[in-house]
Symmetry: C2
Subunit: 125 residues, 2 copies
Amino acid sequence: MSTDRGPAIAETQTEPATRRARNLVHNDPAGVALQDALDAVADPVRRSILRELSTEPDFTRACGTFHLPVSKATASHHFAVLRAAGLLEQVDQGPRRFNRLRRAEFDARFPGLLALVLAEPDGPV
Amino acid sequence: MSTDRGPAIAETQTEPATRRARNLVHNDPAGVALQDALDAVADPVRRSILRELSTEPDFTRACGTFHLPVSKATASHHFAVLRAAGLLEQVDQGPRRFNRLRRAEFDARFPGLLALVLAEPDGPV
DNA sequence: ACAGGTGTTTGACTCGGGTCGAACACCTCC
DNA sequence: GGAGGTGTTCGACCCGAGTCAAACACCTGT
């Protein structure tokens, strides 16, 4: 239909408009295996992301704004692991991808685990 | 003294009698880093040990009595990791080494973490 | 259309942890 | 003191996760 590059407006309510957002799959923490949750949380860089994310309101931190001692390629990988483990939700806004910590959902599935991570003192990651 | 094969009885109360027991060092869970705890618990074989150990009274299971899909060398390694993480206490009795799950101490240091492991259903480890 | 910014994907490399067999250490009972 | 059983240590192997640079995909300004 005409010149637009997305679906009609009616669909926009339910389906993501951009191609990028369509490729963004989220795993419900309820269906995550303990193995995957522990693997996700066992990496110090990923824990650093979670702690940094916990200090500010939802969807106010884009992936690139974190202070991480790794390249952006590696950082992108870590964000994907955290998302797959049900630990964070991401929404695209323009070229940036904003993050939200799924505190309640994840804690419901793995009580106490996220609290341990957030209580950890910041190290020289 | 008479016929005993160890040091004087007075010492027996504080110091281990055998050389083997002297090499058995235990880490207090209070001093364990979150990184080490997560690393210890992130391995499926080690979680299997913890779950199996949780089903029976303290110090009734020797290392060799666990049903593990690995060689005894690897199993020995896993027990050492769990001990270093403050997850279990071991005592030598004859040639065998009996285990105790340090539930309370470990849960005081990492609330909820051990519970997650023990609640996990037994898999085909 | 182009440029600049953000994030992902790909391919390749590295390194550490899990794994094993074999050798060793230790204990106990003949 | 040997024999047999339990557990650890050693040396070597292997595979996967973390890592990076480079290329790519996508969005938004101008």
